[in-house]
């Protein structure tokens, strides 16, 4: 079968491996890139354990093929903490006892990251609906909801300007906290949104880590 070289940008680093086109993004991230924090709980797009960020948006990595992700900026749970310093969202999950077996947790964390970027001051209802695409069998969700609310407070305090690494920034939504629920630039006719705002988001942040430079779309 047609095995090919695939290069992915994950957490600001380039990972390369060889795989058939049918290899799912989740399997590639786990097996070829050795990033096993992204888990597989159902492989049909319901449980959310494999949630990662692609160009800043939460997606199911079990419902994509690795070859499709070439040229995109990916972020997995491994990209969340800064060395040994937990991300405020991870810290909140810890303090609120928002995980038990921890298998679903990476997916919840990535969903939370994108959610709080787009909805900095969520209501409990908004939190519960934002989390409804991730299944947890241990916690009954109560402490996860508390953790997301707590993380929202911490982040809103502005104490963590670097809470969204470059590869966690949406190409569809300009700045995080500054402009919560903005209209998608995709109202404009083609040429496509993604490129425009990608360029924008690339230049906007001076001094951001070099990964913040927009990734050029590679041909596959």
């Amino acid at each position: 079968m047609a095995v090919r070289e695939i290069a992915l940008r994950i957490n600001g680093r380039t990972h390369t491996g060889r795989a058939e086109p049918r290899k799912t993004l989740a399997d590639f991230i786990r097996e070829e890139c050795g990033l096993t924090g992204t888990h597989l709980g159902c492989e049909h797009g319901v449980c959310g354990a494999c949630t990662i960020l692609m160009d800043g948006e939460a997606v199911r990595s079990c419902l994509m093929f690795a070859v499709q992700a070439e040229g995109a900026e990916l972020m997995t749970v491994e990209g969340l903490a800064d060395g040994n310093r937990l991300h405020p969202i991870q810290q909140a999950y810890w303090e609120q006892h928002a995980l038990q077996c921890g298998f679903c947790t990476p997916g919840f964390l990535m969903t939370t990251l994108a959610f709080l970027r787009d909805t900095p001051r969520p209501s409990e209802r908004e939190i519960r609906e934002a989390l409804a695409g991730n299944l947890c069998r241990c916690t009954g969700y109560q402490n996860i909801v508390k953790a997301v609310a707590a993380a929202a407070d911490t982040l809103a305090s502005g104490a963590h300007p670097d809470a969204w690494p470059a590869f966690a920034r949406s190409v569809a939504v300009p700045a995080p906290a500054t402009q919560p629920e903005c209209a998608s630039a995709s109202d404009a006719p083609n040429p496509p949104v993604s490129k425009k705002t990608r360029a924008a988001s690339g230049t906007r942040r001076k001094g951001a880590r070099d990964q913040s430079r927009p990734a050029k779309r590679r041909r596959s």
Binding site: M1, G37, H44, T76, V77, W94, L131, C138
Partner: protein, 777 residues
Amino acid sequence: MSTRYFGARVTRNEDPALLTGRGLFVDDVRLPGMVHGAVLRSPHAHARLRRVDARRARTAPGVLAVFTHADLGTLGDPLPKLIPHPALTHQKTQHALAPDTVRYVGEPVAFVVAESRYAAEDACDLIEVDYTPLPAAATLEAAAAAGAPRVHDDMDSNICAHYTQRVGDVDAAFAQAAHRFRERFVIDRGASCPMETRGVVASWDARTRRLDIWDSTQAPIPIRNGLAQMLGLAEQDVRVVAPDVGGGFGPKIMMFYPEEILVPFAAMRLGRAVKWIEDRREHLVATNQEREQIHDAEIAVDSDGGILGVRTIFLYDAGAYIPYGLIVPIVASTTLPGPYRVPNYHCEFRAVFTNKTMVSPYRGAGRPHGVFVMERLLDRVARELRVDRAEVRRRNFIQPDEFPYDVGLIYQDNAPLRYDSGNYPACFDRALELIDYSGWDARQSTARAAGRLLGCGVACYVEGTGIGPYEGARITVEPSGRVFVATGVGTQGQGHLTTFAQIAADVLGVSPRDVTVRTGDTGLFGWGTGTFASRAATVAGNAVALAAKAVRDKARIVAASLLEAPPEEIELSNGNAFVRGVASRSVTLGALARAANPLRFAMPKEWEGPGLEAVRYFAPSQGAFSNGVHACVVEVDAETGGLTIERYVVVHDCGRVINPLILEGQIQGGVAQGLGGAFWEKLAYDDQAQPLSTTFMDYLLPTAAEMPPLAIAHLETPSPLNPLGVKGAGEAGVIPVAAVVVQAVEDALAPFGIHITEAPLSPSRLRQLIVEGRRSP
């Protein structure tokens, strides 16, 4: 002993790794040259295997081997009978691979090993199997009936066990009772669905003849012992590790699932590390399920609603085989009386084979059934006698001064069912207070006037926990001063790495952060049975406490010689040993550990052995009995059958609480699973026993959007049965949920006069009940 950490809301030691993607689950294990397995499973609920032709599959690209029953030798014999019972007359177990007959959809037929899981699944498609379909025993009732298709043709029916327990004289009690009420209760199938499915990795070293296994099991030690025996290896040469396990809830303890044999077998045969990870569709047919029971129950009460007798005769769906024995129906029978005085009691069940996935304990393990029956019977009594449902319960509670209370039955651990301690009325009153029961009637009628249908439910339970036989722990203080605790019970998210650390930390005067707890690795601790029946904290927790005390005593003896003071004057705190009252005369725990392991000169006889290390075991004479009360308020949309759970409260007594944070988490998770089983989760099968809900699109786990806010309160009635005074809490959350939700829904729909005797419910089913309720006069 000081209780600085015992009882505190200590955040968990296990979390930093899990939060940063550095956990190690079985699927994260990677070994050089590792290859991947896939299981070909029967699409038929019942069929003869005429032919399994794997020739094409064996030559497919990337395929190393395809194994069928013929290849297994003695490993192809029926799998072990786990827990025998005199009443279990036909304890059928399955084979690792089916030899000639398949008896449920999902039964393994062949095992493929290939370079990738993708290639292995390709090869499964190439295996040609000729089946001759046989009639299936699809429903519990039909399977139990005379003339039903027989799941095992060497039996003359599908009944594999018939067991009765009696207390007092039930017939006499019913004869003289003022009122008798009879009901039929049906509880359907559910699945535990941990987010991590099952998985096994095996690696065989032919030179050292050592077998290493990673298995997402709740019982690594029995797995090791069983495998060593089956494979003819020394137990010391087989290491089974249950690393981070992504939820268990019961079905991850089986001894043995076929794959737990097939993967090691393949690894030894091929000389390659082999990994098999169950996918979700497999999980919903090949991992044990639970919950299906049909009870014909009857209650006899006096004119005040005082219980005179209860009788239940029920059918228990065992699935196609019954390796795990009669635990679930026995637990259902013995949980039924709950916190109430039931002077005369008759429980009788038949365990029935059906052509469905096997049944073994899933969180609750029969307790939800017993509680559902008892609480629904009491609701019926309240309605018929026009007595408030809370009052009926209050009148029948066992009182605080009646402990120990002998129920008169034999429990699942073969010991008499004797409640050790509790305060049932206090628990009940606290729950009514939290749900504002006194103001309920007013609130309900106001809501009804406004066209809203609100309902309230309240249900009680007693949970048998902390049964034997034993668990143990080894505690070692390293020269660094760090404390290591090794124990045999595995952990699947319950927070043992933290609760056990708290227990040890208090005794040794260190912080829980300085205590590393290692569980589930037979290489580190080889004695124990497993994590089940809410027993880890009680049984292993007390073993940890005993071992810690032994280490403390040794530390005092060693410190005494270094600090020139009598041992009894040595105290441990902040990682130091010091002479009472003279903080300056101190030595660190690490220094003691080094001193206790001298390189030269004679070692004092009273040290007994080197190092600061001790191993201790705890073996309870019987289980400890937790109890609790759940109450909830629901709103039902009568037009759509939609259900909103507005508020849910739990008042719970599991003796002394080690860590409220973790305990509440256990209860919250249990309630969510209970609510799933009450309204969302149902394993549907068609009339040929074909499973119809083998994806998460059709098997509906509740999400954050469905779950209600939960209020939890604790009472602490210590158990006299163990030094820590603790009881188990693992299953508490799930037990009365179906009972309490159904009661609340019935209460909300009272204007339609409907009567609910089943779980789970659904919007569609509720509408049907409403329509029927309207029709019936």
